[in-house]
């Protein structure tokens, strides 16, 4: 090994480590401590071992919330990724309309999350909301505050409205990075539009799409504000996703022990799936 190794630059990372320790590692350690104890407040704790973990893992309430969470995340990914790619393909590549399209696409991303929830809540109300009245006027029996199907429909529509833009912008950036000669070569070969998409555009967008899937997965899996403002987890528990259930348990019932155990399980699931996506991304990077 002839290379000179100088690791002094690592000291420049110290402030970041201190900050992360303060806002992530120490709170996470505290959650682990809580997860093995019972507390009734007042700083008094009783050791319970792995009881809460077992309770959460075997609880139907947790299974149902986890299932709802996967259903929600899976559905929005299946809609937002293809829709985002389709919109990006339809957007102009040059000319004055580019900026117009980009600004229009960026708008939903600029709306604060609780405002998105409030907008959609009012928009979808069956008596006074534009969407609610229109759907009922068309003969649909639509009331998201009372019907499970309507609540899910509104929830998914809201997320698609809010976040498809992110996929569009990423896919568009990926498309713009494809050099013109690729298209020229495809034209010379007489390639169909589908062949161009399948063999040039899609492979070239692979990386940005993996990032898009990763970002949308993480964000939708930990989503709280928008469904909380829109439905509050209802009707009943129909739209109680993991984070809403967790907050109910931790702050509503003050069950800090079980809530801490649930947070850790929740965190481990997010960590594992994100690691799989990250690994796939790195593998693709290796290939090119």
């Amino acid at each position: 090994m002839d290379k000179t190794w100088n690791n002094k630059a690592w000291f420049l990372v110290v402030p970041v480590i201190v900050l992360v320790a303060f806002n992530a590692i120490i709170p996470l350690m505290t959650v682990v401590n809580y997860s093995v104890q019972e507390s009734f407040g007042g700083g008094v704790f009783f050791f319970e071992g792995t009881k809460w973990f077992q309770q959460i893992l075997t609880s139907e309430r947790f299974h149902a919330a986890l299932l709802r969470q996967f259903a929600f995340t899976g559905t929005i990914l299946l809609i937002e990724i293809p829709l985002g790619v389709a919109i990006a393909l339809a957007m102009p590549r040059r000319g004055p309309w580019v900026s117009v399209c980009l600004v229009l696409m960026a708008l939903p991303l600029l709306v604060p999350w609780h405002v998105v929830g409030a907008i959609w809540n009012i928009f979808a109300l069956p008596e006074i909301g534009l969407l609610g009245r229109a759907l009922n006027g068309l003969g649909f029996d639509y009331n998201f505050t009372r019907q499970v199907g309507s609540a899910w429909f509104t929830l998914i529509l809201m997320d698609v409205w809010h976040w498809t833009s992110l996929v569009v912008l990423l896919a568009y950036a990926g498309l713009m990075a494809i050099p013109e000669p690729y298209y020229q070569a495809a034209r010379i070969d007489g390639a169909s539009q589908w062949a161009v998409f399948r063999h040039i555009q899609l492979p070239k967008m692979n990386r940005v799409l993996t990032i898009a899937v990763l970002l949308r997965f993480m964000d939708s899996f930990i989503i709280y504000t928008e469904p909380f403002v829109l439905t509050g987890g209802g009707p009943g528990n129909a739209t109680t996703l993991l984070s809403i259930d967790l907050v109910k348990m931790a702050l509503g019932q003050f069950d800090v022990g079980p809530a801490a155990a649930m947070s850790i399980i929740y965190f481990l699931i997010v960590l594992a799936i994100s690691w799989v996506f990250y690994t796939l991304m790195m593998r693709n990077e290796d290939r090119w």
Binding site: W5, V32, N33, V36, G43, L268, A272, T279, R283, D286
Partner: protein, 93 residues
């Protein structure tokens, strides 16, 4: 410094101390033989020994959770299984 708000127990302290010791051991290993020993294992992706430790720890967490959910509260067998898993990861991944 008053750390009572963190609600420490000796069991969780031992857990975090083991993680800290593992990290110290990994640092010493890295100083003795720098570079992280990158290689391509059975998963078909390049891993360093840091990656292998991460895969071992994350997998062990799930082994223990699965044991708790499916078998019962005694985790010694799960711990043994996790160790075997970690050895396999360090050997073949």
């Amino acid at each position: 410094m008053d750390l009572s708000w963190m609600a420490w127990t000796w069991q969780t302290a031992v857990f975090f101390a083991s993680i800290a010791l593992l990290l110290v051991a990994m640092t010493i290993w890295e100083v003795l033989s720098p570079g992280g020993g990158p290689r391509r294992g059975v998963l078909g992706l390049e891993t360093t020994r840091g990656d292998r430790l991460f895969i071992s720890l994350l997998g062990s967490a799930f082994i223990n959770l699965a044991w708790l959910g499916l078998v019962g509260p005694s985790l010694w067998w799960a711990l043994g299984l996790s160790l075997l898993y970690a050895i396999a990861v360090f050997r073949w991944v």
